[in-house]
Symmetry: C2
Subunit: 210 residues, 2 copies
């Protein structure tokens, strides 16, 4: 048994949102799929340790914002590597209430759902949601997890301050973001003080040498 | 509510297989996703009208063969547009028993699963399977549904007998496969008698002018 075969399943990249007593909450979700067409239902798998899980349980609704390939990758950092319990993810991520739920303005489509069933597993709940509202926000190509992993990380890395990184007289060290795992290669000390992680947006103080 | 927003969810393309009293059965599945990592479980959604659904219910096991971008598109036609009840899909699709289940040789990876839970909906059952065996079959890029829909159909169409289709003196008519919906553009009558649909493999008798 070679569990890396599981990496060959294909996924999109979504922000799954809900309400926490009137405040928007959300997290990144990859595991989402349509189940039935009439009525339209979608299933999403959310880790029970995730604060958004509790909020979906409490309010009985969730929305999926579909990210596009050109959506700001900071959305993934903000919603994927922090907790809504301690951090206001929406402070840097504009949203609009659509179909009663918070939808990220940076997405390309959304589905707003009412929980109609669920399946429990040891670590995750698979929520089945009946789609109450959905629409496109703009044109775009849906971001796949493979694109995020294989292409976007590469692109982001290439867009990092390479003029500094490429300075021949400096040794190329690697600095790792403790929040999202992004690796910066180059002269970290020469980066400006307000430089932030291109993936999750945290400051230099969250990086440490590898 | 614009239900075409649902088209923006991302999927892979899999052949979901099982046993029917010792005979292999299978169908195309797009809706599959990993749910937990320890133990590894995956969920797959199968239409209740599908003969493979009955077989998974009866034998309690299913396998997913992950198709690659360069897997033979006829696999999708054979497994997606016919029924295992009346047609031996495996007659033209070599398979090997791996982890106790039939796995298509034309795939790039497989997951062999034991059903441990399920969630019922009006038209589909979401089977939760604990992965008992999985491995890669070969290198490749997993086929996504978007690739099948947007790219492969184009490529297949381009590989159709275009020398005939492009003959300037003939009017370009469109002929539609009644099995899978593939559209052939060109001089249909001049195709050889043993020509078959490049997607699902049926003969010319299953085509009609659009």
């Amino acid at each position: 048994m070679n569990e890396t075969a599981l990496f060959k399943l294909s996924y999109g990249v979504y922000i799954c949102t809900s309400w926490d007593e009137g405040k928007p909450v959300g997290c990144v979700a990859n595991s989402a799929m349509q189940i039935t067409s009439s009525p339209a239902t979608v299933a999403v798998s959310i880790n029970k340790n995730n604060y958004t899980h509790k909020c979906i349980e409490d309010c009985g609704h969730f929305a999926l914002t579909v990210l596009a390939e050109d959506s700001d990758p900071k959305l993934i950092g903000t919603f994927g590597f922090r907790t809504s319990k301690e951090y206001d993810k929406f402070a840097s991520a504009p949203y609009t209430v659509r179909g009663k739920l918070p939808v990220l303005d940076g997405g390309m489509a959304y589905l707003s759902c009412k929980v109609v069933s669920k399946m429990e597993t040891a670590t995750h709940t698979v929520f089945l949601g009946e789609v109450e509202d959905c629409d496109h926000l703009r044109a775009g190509k849906p971001m796949t997890y493979a694109y995020y992993h294989d292409v976007l990380k590469g692109k982001t890395s290439a867009n990092a301050p390479t003029t500094v990184a490429a300075a021949p007289e400096k040794k190329q060290k690697v600095y790792v973001c403790e929040i999202c795992g992004y690796e910066f290669t180059g002269d970290f000390d020469s980066l400006p003080g307000d430089w932030v992680c291109p993936i999750c947006g945290v400051g230099k103080e969250h990086f440490s040498a590898k």
